[in-house]
Each structure stands twice: as C-alpha cells, then as structure tokens.
C-alpha cells in the first residue's frame, strides 16, 4: 500500500488456528499486510489480538500443532510450508527478532564483543580484524560510549541499559533487512524503556533496516512507527500512516482505544472516563459478523454488523478500515469521544 517497489515481506490472508478441547482457537484470522524497505511498521493490539502469533508465523517458529494457512512471502518467495533448513539462513541474517526477555540472551562468561562477533561468524566468514571493526561499529551504532573498551567487557560490567543496547547490537550483527521487535519495552522500568526506544530510533534513523514493532503501547508506536496496523481478535481492523491513525481513526475500536488512553501530559477529565464496554471476545467462539460489534457504539444491528464480516474499506491514501460504518466515523476524533460522558 505504501512506498515504492516490491515489498520486503508480504502477509496475505494469514490464518493461524490452535486446536483446543472446545474447538479451534483462531489466533490470527485473515491478516494481510506488506512491509517495505526502510520503514517502521507498528502492529498494535491488546492481549489475544494475535500480534505475537503473527510474528512467530513469519519466522516459522510456531509449534507444530498450529494450523497455518495463507501466504507469507519474503522478497516474493513463499515461506510457509518451507522446510526448516531453508528458513534457518533467513533468520538472523535477513530477519532478526528481539523478544521481551532480551537479557536472558546474553552469555555471562563471554565478552560482549565476542558474542556479537559470533553472531556475525555464524552467517559470514570474514577475517578477524574486519570482524572486530564491525563489532565496534555496531556498539557505536546502538549508542554505547567508548565501544572499543566496552567490546572487551563482560555483560555484568554493563548497566541494564547498556545490556539492552548490546542485545540489540547482536540482533543487528548481520545487517538484517528486517528487525522484528516483539514488545521490546514491556516489563521494563521506564528509564530502561527509554534506552530501548533510543536505540530503536537510532536504528530507524541510521540504518536501512526495516522495523516491525509489535506492542500494546500506543505511546511507543506514536514515537517510532511511520505506519500502524491495529489488530483486534486476530484481524487487522485498521491501517494508516501514524499521524492519521491517531488524529482521524476510522475504526470504532481504534477510536475507542485512543479515547480511553490515560495521558501523562494532560490532567484527568472531570467525571467518568471514556471506556470501551464489555470484554475482548473469545477466540474460540468469535462473534458473528464483525468481532467488535458487541462492544461497538456505532454498530448497525443486527445487519450488517452482527451478520456480515466487514471488508477493508479504503478511506484515504494508505488508510483502510475493516468496518461497515466507516462513514459514520468520519470527522470524529478520539478527543471528541473522550469528552462524551459514557
């Protein structure tokens, strides 16, 4: 949808089911999105929205019992159904991933520099001097001061923030085309979070690596992403350039989510806060029609919202929303909704 040229990664109508005693659990339910060269795509969703399962599906890291359908293409080549030995060179070399619990990835008895050098060596046979230069350049890229000295130190000699940075340097060791960051700031104290956001900004601004940023934190997306995809119950409900998504969302879930966010930079409103009523749906028994309709203030009931699954509607350049009622939402901002008393 955005950018020029062929996409780096194409996800088309991806479905991931897990068998359960109560029937199949639809973790991802028809997800389509492209990621281009040199861009930051944010995927936002609450627990159970399918964002992490989708990321694991890209890398072929889902457990065997998962039933996967659809298409995941890397530079035009299908990845789904490929044997493990075909995917291995791709991981770490072209696509790198960092998870929430990143610190567990560092080996305490090996210098930081050597660990990064090993990550390079797994994929490339280059001479020692060149490799050492590359390690220092990577530490510098992620904002570690005095990188030559730091490369010879052990993880325990690094502060928590520096370890987060070193871990990201390792993910970047082979200059991947895509970095998948799955909840990179969740469970970190805010001052550590700030360090990670700083590195991701450096990667965005100084390298050609695209970033797929998976998070539940709309604040993180606001600062880093250029384009945002909002997931609800395993499906993309809205996709838009970041400024437009926050200022003029066209899906009632996005609108409600933004209206209910507490903000650090604003005093609380008088009276009750806006809230999305109800609970996220069961992924085993999805509501018919639009999965959001039981919680939606704009739903036209019963038809079409409770009976027909909404298609994507283009509402502007690079802006789509999967909603029957996109027209009813035109011109309503999250602030308007937040000002309304529930």
């Amino acid at each position: 949808m955005s950018g020029g040229g062929a996409p780096l990664l194409t996800i088309e109508d991806l479905h991931v089911d897990f068998p359960t005693d109560d029937g199949p659990l639809h973790a991802v339910d028809g997800l389509s999105v492209d990621i281009h060269d040199n861009e930051v795509l944010g995927i936002v969703g609450e627990s159970g929205s399918g964002k992490t399962v989708a990321a694991l599906a890209i890398l072929g890291l889902l457990p065997k019992r998962a039933r996967i359908q659809g298409s995941v293409r890397w530079r035009g080549t299908e990845l789904l159904g490929r044997p493990e030995r075909d995917l291995e060179p791709l991981r770490g070399e072209e696509i790198a991933i960092v998870f929430q619990d990143a610190l567990a990835a560092l080996n305490p008895v090996m210098t930081v520099g050597r660990q990064i050098a090993e990550a390079i060596q797994v994929h490339h046979r280059i001479e020692t001097a060149e490799r050492a230069r590359r390690v220092v350049a990577l530490l510098d890229l992620v904002g570690i001061p005095d990188p030559t000295t730091r490369a010879d130190q052990y993880p325990h000699e690094f502060s928590g923030g520096m370890r987060q940075r070193a871990m990201l340097a390792m993910a970047l060791a082979n200059d991947p085309a895509l970095l998948i960051a799955d909840e990179p700031t969740t469970a970190l104290d805010v001052t550590l979070q700030a360090q990670v956001l700083d590195v991701l900004e450096r990667i965005r601004d100084r390298t050609g690596t695209s970033i797929l940023l998976i998070t539940h934190d709309l604040g993180v997306v606001a600062g880093l992403a250029e384009r945002v995809l909002v997931l609800y119950a395993g499906r993309a409900v809205e996709e838009a350039p970041v400024d437009e998504l926050f200022a003029a969302p066209r899906h009632p879930y996005t609108l409600g989510l933004l209206a209910s966010l507490p903000r650090l930079d604003r005093p609380p409103r008088q009276g009750p806060r806006f809230r999305i009523p109800g609970q996220p749906p069961s992924l085993v028994r999805r509501p018919a029609g639009c999965a959001f309709h039981p919680r939606c203030a704009f739903a036209a009931l019963p038809t079409p919202c409770a009976t027909e699954r909404p298609d994507d509607v283009d509402v502007g350049p690079n802006h789509r929303a999967a909603c029957h009622r996109v027209d009813a939402l035109a011109g309503i901002t999250p602030d308007d909704l937040a000002a309304e008393r529930p």
């Binding site: 709309l218 997306v221 926050f246 930079d265 806060r273 996220p280």
Partner: protein, 342 residues
C-alpha cells in the same frame, strides 16, 4: 451531630483530618549468610519516608522496581514489621497497636493486589472470596449472602455470578472481585498495589472509573502504589516519587506533573511515551546513565547523585532534606529547578 444537608449525589466535603500519617518510616532487611546465619549487612529498603494523606484523597507512591514503594505499603499495613518510624491511621498508632486493636484496625485498612490472576483463590467461588473477610472477622451473619450480592453490584459485577469460579471471569472482572473483597469490611483506607497494570488498556478505564466512584461515594482514602505514571495522573491527588528507599519529591499531582523539580522525577516523566505522534516526536527523553545502586551500600549524601547530571561535590557530602519548594511541594535536591528539556 448537626451537619448541613447535602444533595445525595454530591461529593462529600473533604475534611482536612489526616487518614494516614507516615513519619520517618524505616525498613532494613538483614542479610544473613553462613552456617550460623550471622548478619552480614543490611538492605536499606525504606530509608526514612514521611507523608500524610488527608481523608478522602489519593496519595500515589511512584518509582521503579526496587525503590521501596511496595515495602512502604506493606509496612503501613503492618504486614512486615518496621525497623523504626510511625504510622497512624485515623490517629491510631498502627505499628504499636496491641493484637486485639490491630485486628480491629486491619478491618479498616484493606489491600487490592496487582495480579487478579494470582490473588484470588482458584478453588473458592467468587462469592466465597468476597465473603471471606466477613467470615474471618466474624461478621458473616444471616444477611451475609445479601451483603455479598450487594458488594457484587457495587463493583459492577452481576450478583448471579457469585457461584462462579475465578477462571470464569475476565481480568477486569477479576480485579472487580478483588475490589469487592477489599470493600467487604467497609474500610476507610485502601492500599491499591498496581491496581490496573495487569489489565489491557480498554479495560483499565472502567476499573479507574469504579475506583473514583467508590472514593467519592464512601469518602475512601487511597494509598496507590504504581509505576505507570500516566495512569497515576488519573487517580492521584498527591504524588510521592521514591528512589532507592527515599522520597525525592512529593506534592500535589498537578504541580509534580507540570513543574517537576527533582532531576529523577524529570527523567521519569520524560521517559513515558505520549500517545500523540506530533507531541511524542518533539519530546526529549532524559537517559539515565548507570544502574540503580545496591540498597546494601547506598551512595553517600544524595542517593541519586551517581546518576545525576546536576551533581556537585556537596551532593556526596550531605544528604539533601525533603524541603519546601512551594507550600505543599517538597523536593530533596540541592539543585532543584525546571527541566531544561521542556
């Protein structure tokens, strides 16, 4: 009693009487090791904390992991014994109360825990969980079941669900069960330990609304322990920022958020992303260097000086007292002042 008549739905007048008064509270944990379990040092978890919470108001203790905010809450409830200092709840000395008095006092101060998955006994029905405090205090009489149903209604749960078990409820509903349990004995003081941080954003607003409404209708006093500074702004009248066992800044929420004076408060606030792309792109994060020092050997003088960009020699020599910046706003810093990033 001659009180002026008030409209039934009006917020009760806030009296100036202190519901909770904490003075110079200290908690050292001994470090024991060796065969004879000899004391090898002390962890200074809470190092002289003082604050007052007027009846009907919310005081929030904020800070990162290990700052001592949760220990302070446990000391206030006398769940762990204090090393020194005093805690008064409605004028009664909690730390020196005799067992019989403490039992009476405990019914007036209750706690709501962070994790609604871990804090509810999975083998008790929701109704039995809420009835438990009544039974423990011998107050589950003939009207017990009716009281439990009334509590369910009070927190927005369906009284029909008293027979269901915790796993049948969503996260938001479980947190409401925890709140109903805490309200059962009609306490005056509620300690809220990260009450919404385990919940999805779309669920948080409803729980925050409930807490507001309960405070308004029952004149409850809240001691809120939280790390999410955006959510804290929604609830708190007063805020205290803790670092390594000490309050570094304390004051009315508006003052603290709009004009933070302590460098640590400024760093914390700068690190929280704001869900507004143009605003977030303009904001500058203060990145703290180094790690939180060990509470077994805190730095001399100001405990924050090892990570502070304003530190001068005096900061290592003397400990800055928590002094008035303006009337209610206090800051423990030799060089307080506005944040240059703003």
């Amino acid at each position: 009693m001659s009180s002026p008549s008030v409209a039934p739905d009006a917020k009760p007048a806030r009296s100036d009487s202190a519901m909770l008064e904490v003075q110079d509270l200290v908690k050292d944990f001994p470090i024991r090791s060796g065969l004879r379990r000899g004391t090898r040092g002390r962890v200074s978890a809470v190092a002289g904390v003082s604050f007052t919470v007027p009846r009907g108001q919310t005081f929030a203790l904020v800070g990162e992991s290990g700052c001592g905010k949760s220990t302070t809450a446990r000391l206030v409830l006398r769940l762990v014994p204090a090393t020194s200092g005093t805690v008064h709840v409605d004028g009664v000395d909690v730390l020196r109360a005799a067992p019989a008095d403490l039992r009476r006092l405990r019914s007036r101060m209750q706690i709501v825990y962070q994790d609604p998955y871990a804090s509810l006994n999975p083998r008790l029905s929701a109704g039995a969980i809420v009835a438990d405090p009544l039974r423990v205090h011998g107050r589950f009489k003939a009207d017990g079941p009716a009281r439990v149903r009334a509590l369910f209604e009070r927190v927005g749960l369906d009284p029909v669900d008293v027979h269901r078990y915790p796993h049948e409820f969503s996260g938001g509903q479980r947190q409401r069960i925890g709140i109903a349990r805490a309200l059962a004995l009609e306490p005056d003081l509620l300690v809220l330990d990260e009450p919404v941080s385990a919940l999805d954003v779309s669920i948080q607003a409803g729980v925050l609304n409930l807490l507001d409404e309960l405070q308004r209708t029952r004149n409850l006093t809240y001691l809120l322990i939280a790390h999410d500074l955006a959510a804290v702004r929604q609830l708190a009248d007063l805020v205290g920022v803790m670092y390594l066992g000490k309050l570094v800044e304390r004051g009315p929420a508006d003052r603290l958020y709009n004009e933070p004076q302590h460098p640590y408060t400024q760093a914390l606030l700068s690190a929280v992303p704001v869900p507004d792309p143009p605003v977030e792109r303009r904001r500058r994060r203060i990145l703290l260097e180094g790690d939180l020092p060990s509470p077994t050997a805190p730095p001399s003088g100001c405990r924050f000086r090892t990570r502070c960009w304003r530190a001068q020699p005096i900061c290592a020599e003397r400990e800055p007292p928590l002094e008035s910046h303006t009337r209610e706003h206090r800051v423990a810093c030799f060089f307080p002042g506005p944040d240059p990033a703003r």
